[in-house]
Symmetry: C2
Subunit: 457 residues, 2 copies
């Protein structure tokens, strides 16, 4: 029971019972029972399963899936596992799996492969799709051009509902998923789009231009994928046409891809704020993980030494009043936490475009006021704790003053630092934490020990 309560998995196909059944079958070497368990599973769940089991079970699952290996599993795998799985698959199986995918999924897989393997897989695609994938790969990484699919449905502006239906019924190569017919001018530039529901809801003689959506958004192929995800979320888009530099229609992005990007960007911000490099996941190998955690710890060591240098300045005072050494980490810790609160709110607001040039001063003023208000409250508590603990009203007053100063500085630094980093084009999620906690450590030790030395010695 306790094992089951880790999360509510029971509504999904990848529940604990399924994973266990797979593991038991794999360990017993029962290929038939393993295949039975895998058969009804969604490719996304098989991908998760491959990530959760140990390496031997993983190899056995791949063997059982054999030539029935679904390319979608590759699309759903984490980068670090995808390479392992690709290496384990027989080349013909890999070629077949990739060939079945939509062009955007093929691009996603090929972009991370070594040139020789990439070439082999490209050569296996039929001409039109190969050209589509090559063109997408020519766009920069993390751009709309890499995210879009080339399979799309477009028609001239003058068409009627009847023309659209006749065209769609006649086409052999309709995309697997599409939600709009894009209207284009004679130079193939999108001028609007019609939701399929509107086409279905109107008589054959209705003109498409009369039932086109009121607002429609065009994405440029060079646009950064984070901006694309923002637009989908902000304007509730379901699909959007992508144009090249000349404004001509080259593809379409659908909301499920945008949702994936939104999810990745949120994960990136979360991990970066915690000092873990991009793309980290449980799927990483041990050495990769160690390497990914190291840099931020190294930065933190430097800033911690810097803060300790401030303490060293006041060694004499500490030797005389050891209570200073006992209380000083409290001041620094409170400042660090208050600063982290402010910077996290600021980083999120910058990411969602809620913190802009228009309200930056109002936000900074507000955070400083919040720091001052909580600073006063915690100064009172800190003074009380200091007095009760060490019986010295002067020490208590010094601790209270240092607490107030540090929380005000925390509010200021926690807002100004991410904003400043954004302005000089450094990701505030990545670097703010190191700067802010350095400021609150240094200011905390300096204010507390400095005032104490001036007043008490």
């Amino acid at each position: 029971m306790a094992e089951d309560s880790l999360m509510d998995e029971d509504r999904y196909e990848l529940d604990r019972a399924r994973v266990q059944a797979v593991q038991v079958a794999a360990e017993a070497g029962e290929a038939g029972r393993l295949a039975e368990n895998l058969e009804p599973m969604h490719p996304a769940d098989i991908a998760d399963l491959l990530e959760q089991v140990g390496p031997e079970t993983r190899q056995m699952i791949l063997k059982v899936l054999g030539s029935g290996f679904d390319g979608e599993i590759l699309s759903e795998l984490d980068d670090s596992f995808r390479m392992e799985v690709i290496e384990a698959l027989d080349l013909p199986v890999l070629v077949e799996a990739v060939r079945d995918l939509e062009s955007d999924d093929i691009v996603d897989i090929l972009q991370h492969l070594d040139p020789p393997l990439r070439g082999t897989l490209l050569n296996a695609l039929e001409g039109g799709r190969r050209a589509a994938v090559e063109q997408a790969l020519a766009y920069p990484e993390f751009s709309a051009g890499r995210l879009m699919q080339r399979e799309m449905v477009a028609g001239p502006e003058h068409w009627t509902v009847g023309d659209a239906i006749d065209h769609l019924r006649a086409r052999q190569d309709l995309p697997e998923d599409f939600y709009h017919m894009i209207l284009v001018d004679p130079r193939h530039r999108p001028t609007g789009y019609v939701a399929l529901g509107k086409i279905l809801g109107h008589p054959r003689e209705e003109r498409l231009s009369a039932i086109a959506a009121n607002s429609f958004h065009i994405i440029e192929a060079k646009q950064e994928e984070g901006e694309v995800a923002y637009a989908f979320n902000q304007y509730h888009l379901i699909s959007a046409p992508v144009v090249d530099g000349d404004g001509r229609l080259v593809g379409v992005i659908t909301i499920d891809d945008a949702m994936g990007v939104l999810d990745e960007e949120a994960e990136e911000d979360l991990l970066r704020l915690a000092g873990v490099s991009d793309g980290s996941s449980l799927a990483d190998r041990l050495l990769t993980t160690i390497r990914r955690r190291f840099p931020w710890l190294a930065v933190n060591l430097v800033t911690a030494v810097l803060a300790s240098a401030v303490i060293a300045v006041y060694e004499d005072s500490i030797a005389r009043v050891v209570a200073l050494a006992v209380l000083m980490p409290i001041i620094a810790s409170m400042g660090g936490n208050a600063g982290t609160q402010s910077l996290t709110v600021a980083v999120r607001a910058i990411a969602t475009k809620d913190l802009t040039g228009s309200n930056v001063w109002r936000v900074i003023r507000r955070e400083v006021l919040v720091g001052a208000a909580n600073g006063l409250l915690f100064a009172a508590v800190m003074g009380g704790v200091g007095f009760l603990w060490f019986g010295s009203p002067v020490l208590a007053a010094v601790a209270a003053a240092a607490m107030l100063i540090n929380l005000v500085v925390a509010g200021l630094a926690g807002t100004v630092i991410p904003i400043a980093l954004e302005r000089i084009r450094i990701d505030p999620a990545l670097a703010s934490g190191a700067f802010v906690t350095t400021v609150t450590d240094v200011v905390g030790f300096f204010a507390f020990l400095g005032i104490a030395s001036a007043v008490m010695m």
Copy 2:
């Protein structure tokens, strides 16, 4: 220029120039120019604008929008601002704005209103929609039942493409957005769905059941909205039927709503990890913000005092060797950061269902190994720093040993604590930080000062 570089806004309608034009017009009291600037803006951008400007400009914008106020603006507003705007609107304008919305958006707005105002707005809806909204409100908050819209398109399983087209053309009340026709059995239970693109791509005599999607997911109305968002993201759903306890079709959820939930949940995790309570945003009033930041700071004060109590145990040692006071914050800080790295990866993995009962032991072992590896590296660096700074090989060795111990403990606590919290049904994002940093502070001080006292005194 520097102002403009805060972010790449130029591709969106709410660019800085637009906000400035609005502010200038509002301050000059030029209603005409203000209206001109607002006219082409998307409701989502007007909502952002209302959040970014000061209170006077906000009131002026609402006055200028007047009876043309679009209900979608309300849907897009942050909760804290929504109440202010609702209070500022004339009742007839509010009624008109709400009446135009889809049922899911009406539910989202009404659920947070006081009963009298809620009743007034409910009474203004026509019978069918009123019943739909009331039924949705009967489901618990944050459930699929609250998220779904009642406007949907369903037909019996035996229909052909022609039947579907005739039905859709004859219907007067087609939903604004729909992407599938849901197939239902005679008891109105969904048995599959057909993408509109498939209906359009097949001849009139084709049976719908023959072109239904291979896999389709049914959502239960009582399901938690976070689970719904997970399913949409995992299975690339565009829309999904919602059923009541008897399995009967009661509504449909579309991906844009699921995307909104996914975005909110990511924000919630991010803010909770930083010790900021739920739903915090720049839009909060000052007092709300102070109150939302206070609890975590209070918890942190308690844990910091606890850690300081460990220091107090070794006061005599510190009085004799002040270098201990200088170096001890470095050990604690490194442990805190390493622990935060581990816990953030664990919290994210739990949220994305990548950390389950199946791989929990492998993950814990891995994090401990990472802690040991980085612990060895930083023990060496710390030993070097300690020796160079204070010239004592014994002090250096003690600092190195404490560093190794604390980073191993950080990896262990950073993984075990969130997993344990999840098992006892406490949100790991909310509480892990306090526990993990308490552990690393206490262990850091205890290891360093304890070993030093044993070896050096």
